[in-house]
Amino acid sequence: MSEKLIIENLTKKFGKNEGVENINLSVKEHELLTLLGPSGCGKTTILRAIGGFNQIDSGRILLDGKEIQNLQPEKRPTGMVFQSYNLWPHMTVYENMAFGMQIRKCPKEQIKKEIKKMLELVRMDGSEKKYPSQLSGGQQQRIAIARALVLKPSLLLLDEPFSALDAKIRGQMREELKRIQREAGLTVIFVTHDQEEAMAISDRIAVMRRGYMEQVGKPEEIYDHPKTRFVAEFIGEMNFIEENGSSFAVRPEDVTLQHDQNGKYEIFQMMSLGHYTQAIVKKSEKEMLKVFLEKDQAKGFETGNRVNCIFDRQQEFAARA
């Protein structure tokens, strides 16, 4: 796969401490890359810089081999979908989608054909005459994606597009996006602060913190081998055990409980979370571990049991200062 987008030494500062510095990143053709991080980490700044909504201080952005960092948004071959208020409220779905093509002076017949095709892709066919206020939030975001796609962007930029939707719809939209991306062969940059969402949809994830890239890699890679303590903490659930000046990180599913009268741990709480059970085991007031148990395994344990913990896999980090 060839490189679609290359970002070299991108710097964009807002005031002294905010913004991003010396960002290097590349996105491959047909790849869905997620920029993931807590709010204020600079993920949206990078996305908006690619879209042209942030003038960058220095660096280069190459899309399909061409430098685009000095182009206005209307001249860039990117398509952006925002968190909310994407659709123009006074235009119907059809008018919303036709708008950009009309500016490009496409023939009417072609506009009609393309819109029909795109609405089918996002499974919203038949909604041409509706106004945004007559659609649900999830439907509006589908149309927003379709509206961006109808202009055949070289790169699709999504800025937390599902964060205003409720949990169930959000899950559906993830699957939809993944399907649309596959069917249309899109290259997508997706911004989110939701690590679960990032894990679910991404080909690769770039975890960001305070304007820096902490780790870039495949979801499994980031989950199984976090490079920094921050990544280990941010992605998924993680226990940290401080011992002799260093700290060990253990995933709750990598802990096995064993009954032992003289065990170091005591089961403090059991909580059924549907297909698995979460147990909190306690060594002292300060040292508690979270353990995930399969439903059947959990049947053998009760609150108050003394147990031993076996760590199937662990990773060492420098102790927190």
Partner: protein, 282 residues
């Protein structure tokens, strides 16, 4: 039973004071004025009061003068305030924030104080004249006691007022509406034309009608800064009452002015009532 009766009467009791005041100071005077406008001084029926205003050259000139002044004020105030509101809405600079805090200030300065202040600057021996004299330039602006003076002073009050209305309207235009239009390849002019204007034009009409109606009954500003002849309708009315003591003509003029304002009210209500499909359920 007693409680039930109380419940029935409480709303009426609450409305009564406001209703009584309205009857006393609005409805009765209007009826009285309309009746008086069709009478002579000794009480017989006549159309002469109206006839006078439709045939008198002075009255016709005043009407034209008022119309020119009102429309000029309206158009200028709307243009300036719309530009100001656009700037306040879309610029994120420090200057924009500062202006955003200050622009309503003129509304809090008592009208007459402001008018005298403006007069002191624009009159032929005012600040502009004296300042230019420092450089040896003798320049008389010729703004005061002229239609230009009235318009200038009215802009002082109407720009902030209409900018306030339009700012509120523009706050409904989300950043992403504009950004997604740019993303789609839209120029700034097209964004204004196709995205911003359709979302706010109703409020522009509302602001424009308010300004226009205010001008029809305007008194203080034209009285202090306007010419002797032709004059604004408000001054003409004042003269009928205080100079000529002709209450019947004054009543007829009042009715005519009321009808003019009614025209504005119709436009206002129409544009407010007209709900477009996309606004339903918002």
């Amino acid at each position: 039973m007693k409680q039930k009766r109380q419940k029935t009467w409480t709303p009426y009791a609450m409305v009564l004071p406001a209703f009584a005041v309205m009857m006393l100071v609005v409805v009765l005077p209007i009826i009285n004025t309309i009746l008086q406008s069709f009478k002579t001084a000794d009480g017989t029926f006549t159309m002469a009061n109206y006839q006078y205003f439709f045939t008198s050259k002075e009255a016709f000139q005043s009407l034209i003068f008022t119309a020119i002044e009102a429309f000029s004020t309206m158009i200028l105030a709307i243009i300036f305030s719309f530009l100001l509101a656009l700037y306040l809405r879309f610029s994120k600079s420090k200057i924009s924030k500062l202006i955003g805090r200050l622009y309503l200030l003129p509304r809090f300065i008592p009208g007459i104080v402001a008018v005298y202040a403006v007069m002191n600057i624009i009159k032929d021996s005012g600040f502009i004249n004296r300042f230019l004299q420092l450089f040896g330039i003798v320049y008389k602006p010729g703004l005061l006691y002229d239609i230009k003076g009235i318009i200038l002073c009215n802009l002082w009050f109407n720009i902030p007022f209409s900018a306030m209305l339009l700012s509120a309207a523009l706050s409904a235009v989300a950043d992403s509406y504009v950004e997604s239009a740019r993303d789609a390849g839209c120029s700034y002019w097209k964004i204004f034309q196709k995205i911003i204007w359709p979302l706010v034009y109703k409020d522009v009409i509302v602001a424009a009608t308010f300004i226009l109606m205010g001008q029809i009954g305007a008194f203080t500003i034209p009285y202090l800064t306007g010419p002797n002849n032709p004059k604004m309708l408000g001054i003409l009315l004042y003269q009928q009452v205080n100079t000529y003591l002709d209450y019947q003509k004054a009543a007829a003029l009042s009715v005519l002015m009321f009808l003019l304002c009614l025209g504005g009210a119709v436009v206002y209500i129409k544009s407010n009532m007209k709900e477009e499909v996309w606004e339903k359920g918002r």
